[in-house]
């Protein structure tokens, strides 16, 4: 059938096993071919008919040859990839051309596979992306081949090392560049969040989101390959203070973007609560190396304390204290419990300690379920917790400042952003403090640490205490934001989720926990098609991460993480001295 006409391109892939070297002189041609095929694929129709659930996005059923500028969505991404590939192929002055081509190729492959598969599954067979009842649509296949050719070209050619760009400008110019980068980052985050729309009317939100992520991955990969990401990273390091403040401002500006809806504010607040808690856990697990499997209990304790002091009708205590005071009390009480839970560390180590913390967590859940002392509402939970109020404004209200109107929940979002920033600052300061070095020493070798004069007992309990206090703070906000506190929110699975957030992001790193928590919350929101498999995939992901990338997405650069086997890379002579030399046995 028509399919045979398209069978030629795989012939390129044919000599891969042995004849791959023969193609070496032709990498430029290959790259051009790949780029052209990608472009061609983006202009061809992708679906042979209007799918039963409604038309696939980006006008997938039309061909865009007639209106090349009408490409949108994933087809626009492919157009950009195609053009970029051709440019990279032809302009020989660009450094690391093959590396860039590889990123573009992988991005193209991912985008075409995601969209092609989705259309195939929704359309009930390969007929949906090839030919059916007189209409043809080979967009997915042509683009996929284009991507494969691109990747092949980069494999044939020599992969250059990532170039280091040493551009240095006037400080103001660099500040301006950073500003632009961070504004772009903000817009990108908003675009990722809102991609595909949401609600029952957005049928293909999952596909659009995944495709967008893939395109973004390819794009960032290309930037990284060109050395631009490394350069921006260096800029960040040069102007750390300025960049951190900018990032904070950018986070506070999120409500002004397209993600500024009540829904995303709520999701972002929840992410914030868990991120703050995960950073606290990161102190215990990532820095001090003490595995805590009942950590969510401290979030629960903070939440129940706040609920009881909020003046909620259902609380047994029934007094109403101002919110800042409540936060302090919640943190202190959670901290006290943290010290109690941490006290067995004086005698118990390693796996046994993990089980002790798990037992404490289960005791907390069981006691809260039984409404211990009338403080937790038991199965009835504590409902009707009033919103936080400041200056006469309830935090659950929408906000209008002059011409700018902000959605409901935005004040909680601001609150949680400030909390996360505070927690990060605490973490960063601790990590590079005497105490932090002691924790890391204990993590690496407790006996050696003790031999070096570190009083390991109090230091370990301090880790639990501080971590629990941070979780308690988050819990106080959590209680007011959700307005109901129930023991069901603090079960064992939540502890595992927090741990997964820390592990996924990278143990012992500052942005890691935030990144991990964001991923674990945003993915299920976006991929509702896979809702039933959420926990299954979660479990499998945990196993795979441990096997293939135990250091997480953002590995701890300066210090060997607890989970990495290979020896520590030579310290780059950074500003902070490591303690490892001091404690090495």
């Amino acid at each position: 059938m028509t399919a045979t006409t398209e069978k030629k391109p795989p012939a390129h892939a044919a000599p891969r096993p042995k004849g791959i070297a023969a193609l070496k002189p032709h990498t430029t041609t290959l790259m051009v071919v790949g780029g052209v095929l990608t472009l061609l694929g983006s202009f061809l129709p992708w679906a042979t008919f209007v799918l039963n659930k409604g038309p696939y996005p980006a006008q997938a059923t039309l061909q865009n040859f007639t209106a090349p500028l009408a490409s949108s969505g994933f087809r626009l991404h492919l157009v950009l990839f195609g053009i970029a590939a051709i440019v990279v192929a032809l302009v020989k002055r660009i450094p690391a051309r093959h590396r860039i081509a590889r990123a573009l190729g992988y991005g193209t492959i991912a985008v075409s596979v995601i969209n092609g598969l989705w259309i195939t599954v929704e359309g009930g067979g390969l007929g949906a992306i090839t030919a059916s009842e007189g209409s043809v649509a080979f967009g997915a296949i042509v683009a996929l081949i284009g991507g494969i050719v691109l990747a092949l070209a980069s494999r044939v050619g020599d992969l250059e090392p990532v170039p280091e760009i040493g551009w240095k400008f006037n400080r103001w110019v660099e500040w301006l560049i950073l500003l632009v980068v961070i504004v772009l980052l903000l817009l990108l985050v908003a675009a990722v969040l809102t991609s595909g729309g949401f609600g029952a009317t957005a049928t293909y939100a999952g596909a659009v989101f995944l495709s967008f992520l893939a395109a973004l991955g390819g794009f960032l990969g290309a930037l990284h390959a060109a050395g631009l990401l490394g350069w921006v990273n260096a800029l960040f390091d040069r102007h750390r203070g300025y960049a951190v403040i900018l990032l904070l401002v950018a986070a506070l500006c999120l409500p002004l973007t397209s993600a500024g809806t009540e829904y995303w504010m709520t999701v972002a607040t929840n992410i914030g609560v868990y991120a703050a808690t995960a950073i606290g856990l990161n102190i215990v697990v990532g820095l001090a190396g003490l595995l805590d499997l009942g950590y969510v209990a401290f979030l629960g304790i903070g939440a129940f304390v706040a609920a009881n002091l909020s003046g909620a009708a259902a609380s047994a205590v029934g007094i109403h204290l101002p919110f800042p005071l409540v936060m302090v009390i919640a943190a202190v009480i959670a901290g006290i419990f943290g010290a109690i839970v941490g006290s067995p560390t004086l005698r118990v180590r390693g796996d046994y300690l993990a089980i002790v913390t798990l037992a404490f967590g289960e005791i907390f859940v069981r006691s809260a379920q039984n409404n211990i002392g009338g403080l937790t509402g038991g199965s009835n939970a504590i409902p009707g917790i009033p919103p936080v109020e400041a200056f006469g404004i309830g935090f659950d209200q929408a906000l209008r400042i002059g011409p700018v109107s902000l959605p409901r929940g935005v004040l909680y979002y601001f609150l949680i952003v400030l909390l996360v920033a505070f927690v990060m600052a605490v973490f960063a300061n601790l990590k590079y403090s005497r105490l932090g070095r002691a924790w890391i020493a204990i993590r690496e070798d407790e006996d050696a640490a003790r031999a070096m004069g570190i009083r390991t007992g109090p230091v370990k309990i301090l880790a639990f205490l501080i971590g629990a206090m941070l979780a308690g703070l988050a819990g106080a906000i959590f209680a007011h934001k959700t307005a109901t506190v129930s023991y069901e929110s603090f079960r064992f699975l939540e502890s595992v989720t927090l741990l997964a957030a820390v592990v996924l992001g990278g143990m012992g790193t500052i942005p890691g926990a935030v990144l991990g928590a964001s991923i674990l919350f945003i993915l299920p929101e976006k991929l509702r098609e896979f809702a039933d498999y959420r926990l299954l995939l979660f479990g499998i992901a945990l196993v795979l991460i441990m096997r293939y990338r135990p250091q997480g997405l953002v590995p701890d650069a300066h210090r060997r993480a607890e989970l990495v086997e290979e020896p520590e890379p030579i310290d780059t002579g950074g500003d902070k001295p490591t303690t490892r030399e001091a404690v090495a046995p």
């Binding site: 697990v285 190396g289 595995l291 499997l293 067995p344 005698r347 118990v348 180590r349 390693g350 796996d351 046994y352 993990a354 089980i355 002790v356 798990l358 037992a359 404490f360 289960e362 005791i363 069981r366 006691s367 379920q369 039984n370 070798d445 407790e446 006996d447 064992f492 699975l493 595992v496 741990l499 592990v503 039933d532 498999y533 926990l535 299954l536 979660f538 479990g539 499998i540 992901a541 945990l542 196993v543 441990m546 096997r547 135990p550 607890e562 989970l563 990495v564 086997e565």
Partner: protein, 308 residues
């Protein structure tokens, strides 16, 4: 008096079951010092495998005769659990054999969640509890003490099978060549290798044995309670781990005694301690913490094993 006796009977039955699961924990920990958190799920999978076979595979003519069905289901349960345990060892734990200690434990958590969810998603109607056929003599033997102390026949089966299997396992480990290889590997893997033992095979054998025992426990559990659900692994797994620690981890007799102790604590605490049945779990965990803190070597453990 009859209340006390009845609660002791309840405790012994549950305790034997927990002891049977605890054997798997204790053997695996003894050999590779891994808390195989997913062992409880192995127990659960065995029960589902057996009931699935009885429901969907076996002809109904067979399933009406308990004396025929009981051994078949026990064997199938043991086989299913054994296969799952072996796969788990091969694909999840073996690659991490020399990784730092947190990695296998987090992996075990992942395996646990994944197994539980896999059964929920792929087994028909597993979102809620499913019935388990009664495959032993129904009813109870009533001891003439006070108001009468009923002992269910299926409970007697649990106690007898658990004790027999534990005894058999103990004999195997103490007196056979393979058992000696296991003990050697537990003591020092590298030296065992020098002695011509293949530690990988011994470790697989350990997982397989522990899995098979858990599978048997799963079937006995289903037969006793006549229903199973996907949560049963997590809860009983934690109890079993507690039992293994209580008895001295790595010690086979200890696991059984620990299991019986846990069963008795649960039933007696529910009867006599403040808070009643609602807090019986809490007491088990209190005991767990107390043991770990004050006597981490358990009842039978010889020396405290501290891992760097």
């Amino acid at each position: 008096m009859s209340i006390l006796m009845s609660q002791i009977v309840n405790g012994l039955i549950l305790g034997s079951l927990i002891g049977l699961i605890a054997l798997g924990y204790t053997m695996v920990y003894g050999i590779i010092q891994l808390i195989n958190f997913a062992h409880g799920e192995v127990f659960m999978v065995g029960a589902y495998g057996a009931v699935g076979t009885a429901t969907f595979v076996l002809p109904t003519a067979v399933t009406t005769q308990w004396w025929f069905l009981l051994p078949i289901m026990i064997v199938i349960g043991a086989l299913v659990s054994m296969v799952v345990a072996i796969l788990m060892e091969r694909f999840a734990y073996r690659p991490l054999r020399n990784a730092p200690r947190l990695a296998p434990l987090i992996t075990a958590l992942g395996v646990s969640v994944a197994l539980q969810e896999a059964v929920r998603v792929f087994y028909p109607e597993a979102t809620a509890a499913i019935p388990f056929p009664s495959i032993f003599i129904p009813g109870a033997l009533v001891l003439p003490i006070g108001d009468g102390v009923p002992i269910q026949y299926s409970g007697i089966l649990i106690v007898v099978v658990a004790l027999v299997l534990a005894f058999a396992l103990n004999t195997f480990v103490e007196q056979t060549r393979l058992g000696r290889a296991m003990r050697a590997t537990a003591q020092d893997r590298d030296v065992a290798r020098l002695m011509g033992i293949n530690p990988d095979r011994v470790i697989v054998l350990t997982f397989a044995l522990g899995g098979a025992l858990a599978g048997v426990a799963g079937v006995l559990y289903g037969n006793f309670y006549n229903f199973i659900n996907i949560d049963m692994g997590f809860q009983n797994g934690i109890f079993a781990f507690t039992a293994a620690v209580l008895g001295g981890i790595g010690n086979i007799r200890g696991a059984v005694v620990g299991g019986l102790a846990i069963g008795l604590i649960k039933s007696l605490a529910g009867q006599y301690l403040p808070g009643g049945g609602a807090y019986d779990y809490v007491w088990i965990f209190v005991v767990l913490i107390a043991v770990l803190v004050f006597r981490p070597q358990g009842f039978f453990g010889e020396t405290e094993r501290v891992r760097a």
